[in-house]
Amino acid sequence: MDEEVECSILQCSGHLPQYFALPRRQSKASGCQKGWAGTLRCAVESDTATGAFLIPYFIALLFEGIPLLHLELALGQYLRKGSIGAWNTISAYLGGIGVASWMVSVLISLYYNTVLTWVMWYFINSFQEPLPWSVCPLNENRTGFNEECYESTAVNYFWYRKTLNITPDIAESGRLQWWLILCLAACWAIVYLCTIRGIETTGKAIYVTAIFPYLVLTIFLIQGLTLPGATEGLIYLFTPNLSTLKNPRVWLDAATQIFFSLSLGFGGLIAFASYNPTKNDCEKDAVTVAIVNSMTSLYASIPVFSVLGFKATTAYWDCLDRNIINIINEFDLPEESIMRQNYTSWISFLNSSYPEKIAGLKLKSCDLQEFLDQSVSGTGLAFIVFTQAIILMPGSQAWAILFFIMLFSLGLSSMFGNIEGVFTPLLELQIVPKSAPKELLSGIICLISFLIALCFTLGSGSYWIDIFDRYASSVPLLVIAFFEVIGVVYIYKINRFSKDVEWMTGRKLNLYWQITWRFISPLLLLIVFTAFVTLQLQKPPSYTAWNPKYEGFPMKEEKVYPPWVQAICVLLVALPCMCLPLAALFHLVKQKRRSKDPSLVPSEVFSCQGANINFSHPKE
């Protein structure tokens, strides 16, 4: 269906209503999907997933997320172009924003699919009884368990050794893990299947990937609330520990989380919005998408935290039980004399009467709060904490299968957005001839991405994914968003934009939009960006490595990135950001050359100064 792509660009309004109905629902759905992915990511980075996180999250949403969302949706809907075309239209010097968005989408789709690979690996391993991450394998002479597994937990062992086969240092690349390569190929094949004809197939796939997670999450909610210890987890979620707000890292994470959650700055929103009819109420869309997104994040966090509470409670009980056994052994007390309830009174009694004995036992202090606070950073939440909790639930295979299918569909819908963000600008720039079938183009993109992503299946792959996650997906988005707001407000001039939006929605822009677009959002973005840079410069970036030979094993070893890795981090941040000045420079040079040669007629007339309202008829 080539017509539908052409329509988006050529704006046939109303002749193909079914195509507009579908993408319209889809633009809402895609926003919600990103919201899901944001939940996944937020749930995944649980060191900030506490009750106090909700406060900076909502502030960032209000002053950064919703204004930017509205801006991008309105832009795409009005200009009827993808991100590169739209920014070229605003000002030829700002065309770099579109290119930067494209580059960010490319980087993210490269590494994001590897996370899906891990999810798929866990999914296909969930069909076994017992679950492979619940038991330790035996050592060679079968007298005990594998040492690495015994020292840490079976879940950790399965994640670090059986799945990642992780190397102790980022400089050691290790080998390609063939099982991960298989799963990666399958994941890219699924992505190809769903984006094979662009929006057409993606639109249908999104219906499944949008509805299914809601179902599974509801099931998990019901199950989670019936687990013991769930209430502790929920209380922990909703009681803010305000001291964490003093850490600027939390604010930073909230700001960057909003971007990922609402997929701002990726260019995908502009592309999706360009399929909408012109007179669509984009303001209502923006607010609806943002609210639905936050509500789903909140809704998703309830089962997550009840399961976390359950896991913490079980760990706490195990700790208590171990101590109780040690005490009963030592003092020859009858069984069931010390129970969990009277543990503290017994401990105080014994401490006063036999302090040396108690000290000799080396009891671990069991504190429920401490277990709840235990933060697992990175992808640890889904693959370590949750899998451990799933083992404890009855019928663990079914829960594991459901959970990983849900994660997979969440991640897949984010991938759609990313791939769309890669696909559409390529079509727009007409790098590929029109006659080439879309299937071929998407196939080539998927194949190239698969080959590049093979380097994430190395032994050190997960360290690289952490780097991409930390650097490629946070700072460039801030920069892009900043220039987006500045570009629209001060270069395109906000008054003109207000009139355009008014023409589309039929109402005047109210004060909230005016203030946030003019002052608050750019200011906030600038503050977050400078804070990020300052924090990064304060100490050299470090990472935690899984090293079985480390003395403190099973704690992870803190290491500093070697200089060449730091250079790559800087490159990841700089690459998209460089597009902005480079594109402006390129355009400047072109202008100068054209002004020197007056015979050449400038071909791009649409630098939009004084564009009329019927702007919906772009050049052919």
């Binding site: 050529l10 298989l182 056994i325 020859d332």
Partner: protein
């Protein structure tokens, strides 16, 4: 502790095994307080009594290991009858191991039975004049018959623990092809089938469109021929229905302003 030792003394004397040497050695048993048994527990089972005892082997030689017996009774109380059964099982194990039928129940001695059912036990050899069987032999015998002993007491390796006798863990059942490969194969087949289906349907649609567009081109040529004949409008009028259809179709392809 002292009372149980004297009990032991009484028991030994009953069987005529007492000698001063043995008594002193027995005394040694409860003075050299050995490491308490570790109760490995699943405390979630309802426990009626818990028996933990310390068992030590009387050190005849330096390298005799100390054994501990650790019993967790889930369904029964530990009394003299259970002790008798235990002695019988140990005697049975010794008989099977060394295949000489001389070991009697009376040869197995328990001492230091505490409330938590842990005790030391010793196997004596009546044929060799009140010497004890070396620890390594007893160890090997019990290891060989561990399963039977466990089942006699309805316990497992975890709940009935002999110190110094580590159990050989059974390896998990490995199917010939790992399960995940099978699932992966199924998933991959589905994906490939979907891709092939979509590509083929795309190619077919493309071919149909090409055929339609060539048909349309043929019609257009006829129209052009008619247009070039004199007055286009009259020519159009004559060919009214035919031509209008083509033009109307063309119209819809353009975007309306």
């Amino acid at each position: 502790m002292l009372s149980s030792a004297s009990q032991m003394h009484r028991m030994l004397s009953k069987y005529g095994l007492v000698s001063k040497q043995l008594w002193e050695i027995m005394h040694l048993c409860h003075i050299t307080k050995c490491v308490k048994a570790q109760r490995m527990g699943q405390s979630r089972i309802s426990i009626l009594e818990q028996l933990l005892a310390e068992i030590g082997m009387i050190p005849i030689a330096e390298n005799h290991p100390q054994m501990m017996n650790n019993l967790l009774s889930t369904q029964y109380a530990w009394d003299a009858n259970e002790e008798y059964l235990f002695k019988a099982m140990v005697a049975f194990a010794m008989r099977r191991y060394s295949s000489k039928s001389t070991t009697q129940i009376s040869n197995v001695l328990l001492c230091n039975v505490t409330d938590r059912v842990s005790f030391w036990f010793v196997v004596t050899d009546s044929s060799k004049n009140v010497t004890t069987v070396p620890g390594s032999e007893v160890e090997a015998a019990i290891r060989m018959n561990r399963n039977r002993i466990n089942n006699a007491f309805l316990l497992s390796d975890k709940t009935l623990q002999f110190l110094k006798i580590t159990s050989t863990l059974s390896p998990p059942v490995e199917p010939s092809t790992p399960v995940w490969l099978i699932v992966f194969g199924v998933v991959l087949c589905l994906i490939v089938a979907g891709i092939v289906f979509l590509i083929i349907s795309g190619i077919r649609k493309h071919k149909k469109k090409n055929k339609e567009s060539t048909e349309r081109e043929n019609l257009e040529e006829k129209v052009e021929v008619t247009l070039e004949n004199g007055i286009p409008c009259e020519a159009l009028d004559i060919k009214a229905g035919h031509v209008n259809g083509v033009f109307a179709a063309d119209d819809e392809r353009f975007t309306s302003l």
